[in-house]
């Protein structure tokens, strides 16, 4: 017997049941069920770290989880932009962004060294690298050394057809 989410006449009910044909029938999204994201992450992490899970499969799971974290971070950034809280939370932003970048560096290193199994939608290590590069750019732009005002003015004028 295993826990599975099965559609019943009553909505949002988790029932103890035998696995269905594939054992992978999940009809409710985590949002509908309101399962905390950190619990899902902990469950996936725990599974991926089992010794009987091949390393490339574990790498694919960690990479998938990392992409979910990146997307959640972007959404949070935009929520803060919308509510006007972005500028006042820059210290937290810096710490969170640095943490996500560090995780991404570990994910890409592991994928390059030990391979990565097929992932949802078939994203590749190059897609991870591109996302990581964009996060590095965001860190550089928000928290790194700034261009001088004059340099920014010259760069903006380039788009008007001026020369440097």
């Amino acid at each position: 017997m295993v826990w599975a989410v099965k559609e019943t006449k009553e909505k949002n009910v988790m029932v103890l049941t035998q696995p269905t044909e594939t054992g992978r029938r999940f009809d409710f999204s985590s949002e509908q069920l309101k399962i905390p994201a950190d619990q899902i992450r902990a469950a996936i992490k725990s599974f991926a770290q089992r010794p009987d899970v091949p390393i490339p499969v574990a790498n694919a799971m960690f990479a998938t989880m990392w992409f979910l974290n990146v997307d959640a971070f972007r959404q949070l950034e935009e929520k803060f932009l919308l509510t006007g809280k972005y500028e006042e939370s820059l210290e937290e932003h810096r710490a969170m962004l640095a943490n996500i970048i560090a995780d991404g560096e570990v994910v890409i290193l592991a994928a390059k060294k030990n391979g990565m199994a097929a992932t949802p939608g078939n994203f590749t290590p190059e897609d991870i690298q591109a996302t990581l590069n964009s996060l590095h750019s965001a860190f550089y732009c928000e928290h790194g050394p700034k261009n001088s005002l004059k340099m920014n003015q010259v760069i903006e004028r380039l788009f008007d057809g001026a020369t440097a």
Binding site: L82, F123, F159
Partner: protein, 83 residues
């Protein structure tokens, strides 16, 4: 006042890189880099991609805000139509 069309294109490509599905990220990055390299070329190599992104960072934050606000308006309009 609207933004320069080339700046707008860079912001669109930057947004696409940050928001497209994971399997499309490398392609999106390549498209953004093409636009940035064009700007680097205009500066005759004086500025780097990073310096150009830094110069446009404020524009990009405004662009993201506008996109999200527009999405909210669209959701509200769709909901109004349904009622």
């Amino acid at each position: 006042m609207g933004r320069q069309p080339e700046i707008e294109k860079i912001l669109e490509a930057w947004w696409a890189l940050d928001h497209c599905a994971p399997p499309e990220r490398a392609k999106s990055e390549s498209e953004l880099n093409k636009l940035l390299d064009s700007a680097v070329g205009k500066s005759e190599g004086l500025y780097t991609r990073h310096q150009i992104l830094d110069a446009l960072w404020g524009h990009y934050k405004s662009y993201r805000l506008e996109k999200r606000k527009n999405e909210k308006v669209e959701v509200a309009q769709t909901a109004m139509k349904k009622t």
